[in-house]
């Protein structure tokens, strides 16, 4: 019964919270409507969602989010200085990061995380070779960059999700 009504509880929760946030959840009626939407929308869009691996450590996930928020701020500071500073000192590079994870959903998540943090934008996830192609604004040492991405983000994501 529960599974038939809520095939994707996490998506349902997200829809409900998003609805509450958008409407500022001023009244009970709005909350009921939100709950209704949280049931109907996942049921209608079920076929379009990929199957995410189970969330093993939600608390570690929260800690990762905190770390990630801090990283966004420091990364922005770095990119801001690079943008204003002398351009000839930058050494942009395409870097291929070999991945240990084998889940398309998590690989996409890692790509997004990489795009928002230290001077890197993810360009392509190769799902045959499991390589993440990344463009770095300033990478004098590509090996160090690869190590940082794998150590800091990929391992954390692998721990949080079972994959």
């Amino acid at each position: 019964m529960m599974r038939a009504l809520l095939p994707m509880p996490r998506v349902s929760l997200m829809v409900f919270v998003l609805w509450a946030v958008i409407t500022n959840a001023a009244s009970l009626g709005l909350l009921v409507l939100g709950a209704l939407l949280a049931i109907v929308i996942p049921l209608l869009s079920r076929d379009f969602w990929p199957d995410p691996p189970p969330l093993l450590h939600p608390w570690r996930g929260l800690r990762f989010l905190g770390l990630f928020a801090l990283d966004i701020v420091t990364a922005n500071w770095r990119v801001a200085r690079q943008i204003v500073g002398p351009l000839h000192r930058l050494s942009p590079a395409f870097v291929e990061v070999p991945l240990d994870l084998r889940d398309p959903f998590i690989a996409t998540l890692l790509g997004s995380v990489v795009s928002l943090t230290p001077g890197t934008v993810s360009i392509h996830v190769d799902q045959q070779r499991w390589v993440l192609l990344v463009h770095a604004l300033d990478a004098p040492d590509p090996q160090a960059l690869i190590g940082e991405i794998k150590e800091r983000y990929e391992r954390a994501l692998k721990e949080i999700f079972a994959c």
Binding site: S115, S122, I123, H124
Partner: protein, 117 residues
Amino acid sequence: MSTATEFIISALIVLGALFVLLGSVGLARLPDFFMRLHGPTKATTMGVGATLLASAIYFSVQDSEGVSLHELAPLFFLFITAPVTAHLLAKAALHRKSSGRSSGQPAPASEHPPGQH
């Protein structure tokens, strides 16, 4: 509104606008498309994020109706879409570079074998 909250809101607004400007400076100044991609995906996203946060605090303090959280929705949305946009743009740029069409017409549909769409 107390002076402290006013200071925090003002600081967030100015910092946010500064980052928005920096993102656009990067877009205008950097020499290569892939480098230009960095400015808008990071600096601009955070700049708009800071502005939205300032707005959320402002209306939470201002309104008697209580906390104003609805600014968090576009914030959340921008942080999800920015990497996707960058990713697709980078892919499009690579595609155009590799097919030698960097300033001409988009790829004609007939290049794909039928039935692929």
